[in-house]
C-alpha cells in the first residue's frame, strides 16, 4: 500500500522523540529504613520478613528472620515489641501485630522442625560465652554461623537465663524455650550447665579460647531493710520465680503482698495468684503512671484480679500483717514520706526491687572497668579488655530480652571482626521511612487481628499460656497489613501511572527501572508511590 505523504504515519515512529530531554528532575528508586526495623533492639529486618510472609512463604520469612534472631517463637512472646509502637500503620488504624506474626513463624518452625542455617567453614577460632541467657545464646548462634567454635558456660542447671527464671511459663511455655535453645545447640554450640566461672582470666587460660563474651545477667535480688518479726515471711521475687522452674514452688500463703513496681513484681503476683493465693496485692511507692512495668502486663494482671496499693512503702513486717506508710510525690515526682501509717494483712511479702549483677568473677581481667555495678563496654560491646566482650543485663542499658539478643548479635559480629583482625566497619543506615512519605490512599482499611486469649478462670488457676497464637490465615492477613514503608513492594503504581510509559517492569521480585530516554520528570510516580520508595532529584544542568 503506497501511503499518502505526511498525513499518514507508521506506528512506533514517535519512539524517535526522546522526551527525556524535557526533564528538570528525575525520579530514583530508594530503600528507606522502616520504623519497625529502626526500633528493633535485636536489629530484626521486620519489614523484610513480613514481605516474605505476605506471600505465604513462611519458611523463607522465618529464614530471613533468624538471620538476626534465632529465637522468634520466644521473641514473639517475650518482647514488648517497640517495633509496633513505631509502626507507621498505627497512625492509619492500628499497628501491625508484628509480634504475633513473629510468634506464628517461630511456632511454625518448631512444628515443622525447620533448621537454622548451617555454620560456615571452621575458622579454628574458639569463643567462650559465659551465660546461656538470651544474650549468650544469641552471641553463640551468630558466632557459630560464622564458623567459630563456641562453648557456653552456664552457672545454673538450665539454659535460658532470665527467659526461664524471669518470665513465668504462662507467658513463655517451656517447650518453646527448650525447642529454640535446642536448635542452637544442634548447630554445634557446646553448652556446659552448672559450670560457674569464678575467675574469667584463668578460665580463658585453661580453655585457651581466643575471645570471650560475657552475658551472666543480673540475678542478685536487691534487698531493702525492713524490720521484721521472727514469724514474718519475706522472700525475693527471683527465688519465687526460680523456684517455679526448679520444682520447689515457694509457700506463700493465702494473702500475698508484693513490694515493687517492675515486671518482676507483676510476674510474682500473678504467679502467687496461680499458686492459690486468694489475694495478691502489689505495693508500690509511686503512682501507676510512674510504674516501670509494661502496660500490657498491667492490663493482664488487673484482669486476673491483682490488687494495687500506690504511693506506699512497707515500713515493718509483722506476723500476718505489714505496716505501710503513705507517700506523696514532690515537685520532681519523687515519693516523700507523709508520716501517715496503716496496717495491711498478708501471709507473706515478696520483694521485687530489682536485681544486681554478680561481678566477682571479673576481678583479674586486665583493663576491664566496672561502673555502677555493671561492666563498661564500647560501641562494639568490647570491654576494656580487647578480647573480652559483654552484653545483656550486665552492661549499662535497659534490661529486656530483646535488647539482650541484640547485644549478642552485635557482640558476635564484633568478636568476629576482632578475631579476623579486620577493621571495625559500621554499615551505613538508610534514611528513615516516615509516615508523611506514604501515600496511604492506596492501603485499604484493615483492623488489627486480635490474638485469642485464655479465659480468665484458667488464667487465674493454671500456668497455661495466656496469649494464643495466630493461625495461618490471620497470620497472613496480619502480615499483609504491613505498609512496606520505604521499600518497593511491586504494587505497579509507578509502572501504571506514568503518562509516558517511562517505567520498565523487570518482572516478579525484580522491581522496576526508569527509562530516562522518555521520562519527562513529572513526578507522578513519586507522588503516587504508596510506600515512598521513589525520590525526585533535580537534574544537574
Amino acid at each position: 500500500m503506497q501511503k499518502p505523504f505526511a498525513i499518514t504515519l507508521d506506528a512506533g515512529s514517535s519512539l524517535a522523540n526522546r522526551t527525556g530531554s524535557w526533564r528538570t528532575s528525575r525520579p530514583v528508586y530508594v530503600d528507606r529504613l522502616p520504623p519497625c526495623n529502626h526500633a528493633c533492639p535485636a536489629g530484626e529486618d521486620i519489614q523484610g520478613w513480613l514481605y516474605l510472609a505476605e506471600s505465604g512463604n513462611y519458611r523463607a520469612a522465618w529464614e530471613r528472620l533468624v538471620q538476626n534472631n534465632p529465637m522468634p517463637a520466644i521473641m514473639g512472646r517475650a518482647c514488648y515489641h517497640p517495633c509496633e509502637t513505631a509502626c507507621n500503620r498505627a497512625q492509619l488504624d492500628q499497628a501491625v501485630s508484628i509480634h504475633a506474626v513473629e510468634r506464628f513463624l517461630g511456632d511454625e518452625a518448631i512444628r515443622q522442625g525447620w533448621k537454622l542455617p548451617a555454620p560456615a567453614a571452621p575458622t579454628w577460632r574458639h569463643v567462650l560465652v559465659v551465660g546461656a541467657g538470651p544474650s549468650g545464646l544469641s552471641a553463640a548462634y551468630h558466632l557459630r554461623r560464622l564458623g567459630h567454635r563456641v562453648t557456653i558456660f552456664e552457672a545454673g542447671p538450665m539454659t535460658g537465663g532470665m527467659m526461664r527464671f524471669g518470665i513465668p511459663k504462662y507467658r513463655l511455655p517451656r517447650q518453646i524455650l527448650d525447642a529454640e535453645v535446642a536448635r542452637i545447640e544442634e548447630m554445634g554450640v557446646e553448652i556446659c550447665l552448672n559450670t560457674k566461672v569464678d575467675d574469667l582470666a584463668s578460665t580463658m587460660n585453661e580453655t585457651g579460647v581466643d575471645a570471650a563474651f560475657l552475658a551472666v545477667g543480673a540475678h542478685l535480688a536487691k534487698r531493702a531493710y525492713i524490720p521484721a518479726g521472727d514469724a514474718s515471711r519475706i522472700l525475693d521475687a527471683l527465688s519465687v520465680l526460680r523456684g517455679m522452674e526448679t520444682g520447689e514452688p515457694p509457700i506463700l500463703g493465702r494473702r500475698v503482698v508484693v513490694y515493687g513496681g517492675g515486671n518482676t513484681a507483676l510476674d510474682a503476683a500473678r504467679t502467687a495468684k496461680r499458686l492459690g493465693a486468694t489475694e495478691a496485692l502489689i505495693v508500690y511507692r509511686r503512682t501507676r503512671e510512674k510504674m516501670p512495668a509494661h502496660e500490657l502486663e498491667m492490663q493482664e494482671a488487673m484482669e486476673e484480679g491483682i490488687k494495687f496499693k500506690w504511693l506506699s512503702t512497707i515500713k515493718e513486717a509483722g506476723d500476718g500483717s505489714f505496716v505501710v506508710e503513705k507517700m506523696k510525690l514532690d515537685a520532681q515526682g519523687f515519693p516523700q514520706p507523709t508520716g501517715e501509717f496503716e496496717t495491711i494483712a498478708g501471709d507473706s511479702l515478696v520483694l521485687a526491687l530489682g536485681q544486681d549483677v554478680d561481678l566477682g568473677f571479673l576481678k583479674n581481667v586486665q583493663g576491664l572497668e566496672i561502673e555502677n555495678g555493671v561492666v563498661k563496654v564500647n560501641s562494639q560491646m568490647m570491654t576494656g579488655c580487647s578480647n573480652v566482650f559483654a552484653g545483656g543485663d550486665m552492661v549499662p542499658s535497659e534490661r529486656t530480652v530483646t535488647l539482650a539478643i541484640g547485644h549478642g548479635k552485635k557482640a558476635a559480629k564484633n568478636i568476629d571482626t576482632f578475631l579476623r583482625g579486620a577493621a571495625v566497619s559500621a554499615t551505613p543506615k538508610h534514611a528513615l521511612a516516615t509516615f508523611d512519605r506514604l501515600n496511604t490512599w492506596y492501603y485499604s482499611d484493615a483492623p488489627k487481628t486480635v490474638q485469642p486469649q485464655l479465659d480468665l478462670l484458667r488464667r487465674q488457676t493454671t500456668f497455661d499460656e495466656v496469649m494464643g497464637g495466630l493461625n495461618e490465615n490471620n497470620a497472613l492477613f496480619e502480615a499483609r497489613r504491613c505498609l512496606s514503608c520505604g521499600n518497593c513492594f511491586e504494587c505497579d503504581n509507578c509502572y501504571g501511572l506514568c503518562p509516558d510509559n517511562a517505567v520498565v517492569k523487570l518482572g516478579p521480585g525484580k522491581r522496576f527501572e526508569f527509562d530516562y530516554e522518555y521520562c519527562k520528570g513529572c513526578g507522578l510516580c513519586a507522588e503516587e508511590c504508596p510506600c515512598g520508595a521513589i525520590e525526585m532529584v533535580p537534574e544537574t544542568v
Partner: protein, 417 residues
C-alpha cells in the same frame, strides 16, 4: 436498457450498480430523490452488501463517508446547496486525506434569500476544495458520469463531485439507457484502497503537518488533479468503447469549427444553447458552443484549443463571484491568456430563473454587435432594480446619528403633544 425515467432515479440505479458499500443520506432539495431511490434499492435487497445510513446532518453525512472510505469501503453520498456548505469543513478534509468518495450535487442556489431552485453557486463554493468536479449535460450523462467518477476517484485516491442541475435534471423524466450490472462491473474494478484503517496493518491517518511539509502535501493534491486531466479523457474514451455512447470527458465542442462566436457553459443549459446555435447557424451565423464537462481540474489546454480561433467567447454561467462577476469566465480568461478574443461573462439562471432561447438569442445578438456588457446579467429586471435603489437612497439615513435620533425623539414628542 432504455427507460423513461426521472433523473434522480436514473442516478440512483446507476450508483447502485457501482456497488457502493456505504451510503450516507441526509435530505435536501433537490437531491433527495436520489437517496430515496437508493434507500429503496438497498431495502429491497438489490444492493448487497451495503450500509445505508440516515445521518443527522450533511456534516455527519460526509464525516461518516470519510470514516467508511478510510476503512476501505466504496462510499457514496449526495447533497446540495446549504448542505454542501454545511459539510464544507469535511469536504476539504476528504480531499486532504485523499479519500475516493463520490458525491452527487443536485445543483441549487445558496441563500439568503433562501432559494431551492437551480444554479451552480453551491458547487462553485467548493471549487478549490481539492475535489474533482464533473458536470452533467443531461440525465444520460448524469448517470454515466457516476460510473466514471468511481473509477477516477479510486484510481487517483481523490474525491469526485458529480454535479447535476437541480430540478432541471434531477426531476426531469427523460429517456435514459441504464447500464447493466455486467457492463458496470466490466468497467469499474473492485476498490483497492491506497490506505485503509486495519488493526492488522496499524497506521495513523490524519496527522498534523507543519510548515515543513504542508506545501508539499498541497502540491501533491494539485498534481493529482493534473493527472486527472490526463485520465478523464482516457476513461471517457474507454467508456464510449464499452457502453457505446460518449459521456464525460473534459469538454465537448458543438459546431465550433469555423465558429467566430463560441458560447461556453456548464451543465444542462448546453441543450438549450445548442438549439439556439442550430437556429442561428440556419440564419448563417458562425456560432458554436462548448460544453465544459470537467470544471475541476480546469482543462486550460483543452479550453484554449477549443476557443483559440474564436473572435468572441461568451461564458454563460449559473454562478456569480459577487464583486467581480464570473467564476468560470475567470478561468476561461486564464486559458485564453494572450488570445485576442473578446470574452463576455453572462450570469444567467440564478436561483432557477429560466434560461430561454429567446433571451439567449437576444444576448448573442448584442454580443455580435459588441453591445454586450463585459459582465451581463441575463434577463435582469432593470425596472425593479432602479425602483429599489431609489427607495433605498430616499430611506437611507444621512448625517450624524445623534441628529437622527434627536429627530426621532422630536417626532415622538410631537405625537404625545
Amino acid at each position: 436498457m432504455l427507460r423513461q425515467i426521472e433523473g434522480s432515479r436514473a442516478v440512483a440505479e446507476t450508483v447502485a450498480r457501482c456497488r457502493p458499500e456505504v451510503i450516507c443520506a441526509y435530505p435536501i432539495t433537490p437531491q433527495t430523490h436520489i437517496v430515496e431511490g437508493l434507500s429503496e434499492i438497498v431495502k429491497a435487497g438489490h444492493l448487497k452488501p451495503c450500509e445505508f445510513i440516515n445521518v443527522e446532518s450533511e456534516f455527519a453525512a460526509l464525516s461518516v463517508a470519510i470514516g467508511a472510505s478510510a476503512a476501505g469501503a466504496r462510499t457514496y453520498t449526495a447533497t446540495a446547496s446549504q448542505g454542501l456548505l454545511f459539510m464544507a469543513e469535511a469536504v476539504y478534509n476528504a480531499s486532504g486525506l485523499g479519500l475516493p468518495i463520490v458525491m452527487t450535487i443536485g445543483n441549487r442556489a445558496i441563500g439568503a434569500p433562501i432559494n431551492i431552485w437551480n444554479d451552480h453557486s453551491d458547487s462553485m463554493s467548493m471549487r478549490d476544495a481539492g475535489w474533482i468536479q464533473l458536470f452533467a449535460e443531461n440525465n444520460q450523462e448524469a448517470a454515466d458520469l457516476h460510473i466514471q467518477a468511481f473509477r477516477l476517484a479510486e484510481e487517483l485516491s481523490c474525491p469526485v463531485m458529480v454535479c447535476i442541475d437541480g430540478f432541471i435534471l434531477t426531476h426531469a423524466y427523460e429517456r435514459v439507457d441504464l447500464p447493466t450490472q455486467e457492463q458496470v462491473d466490466a468497467y469499474l474494478p473492485r476498490f483497492e484502497p491506497r490506505q485503509a484503517l486495519d488493526p492488522d496493518q496499524v497506521m495513523s491517518i490524519g496527522a498534523m503537518v507543519g510548515p515543513e511539509a504542508f506545501t508539499e502535501v498541497r502540491y501533491l493534491s494539485h498534481h493529482k488533479q493534473l493527472r486527472a486531466l490526463e485520465r478523464i479523457p482516457v476513461l471517457s474514451e474507454e467508456f464510449r468503447e464499452q457502453f457505446g455512447r460518449a459521456s464525460g470527458g473534459l469538454l465537448r465542442r458543438y459546431r465550433t469549427e469555423d465558429a467566430d462566436t463560441i458560447v461556453v457553459a456548464l451543465g444542462s443549459v448546453n441543450g438549450t444553447i445548442q438549439e439556439v446555435v442550430d437556429d442561428l447557424r440556419e440564419e448563417g451565423v458562425k456560432i458554436g458552443s462548448v460544453c465544459l464537462g470537467t470544471f475541476r481540474p480546469f482543462p486550460l489546454a483543452a479550453v484554449r484549443e477549443a476557443l483559440r480561433n474564436a473572435g468572441r467567447v461568451i461564458v454563460l454561467e449559473k454562478s456569480l463571484a459577487v464583486g467581480i462577476g464570473g467564476i468560470v469566465a475567470t478561468d476561461v480568461r486564464m486559458a485564453l491568456d494572450g488570445v485576442s478574443a473578446r470574452i463576455y461573462t453572462v450570469i444567467a439562471g440564478l436561483g432557477g430563473r429560466a434560461i430561454t432561447k429567446a433571451s439567449l438569442r437576444k444576448m448573442i445578438g448584442q454580443a455580435q454587435q459588441d453591445q454586450l456588457e463585459p459582465v451581463t446579467f441575463l434577463d435582469l429586471n432593470v425596472g425593479i432594480i432602479q425602483r429599489h435603489l431609489e427607495r433605498e437612497s430616499k430611506l437611507r439615513r444621512s448625517g450624524p446619528a445623534a441628529e437622527n435620533i434627536l429627530r426621532d425623539i422630536g417626532l415622538v414628542a410631537a405625537r404625545i403633544g
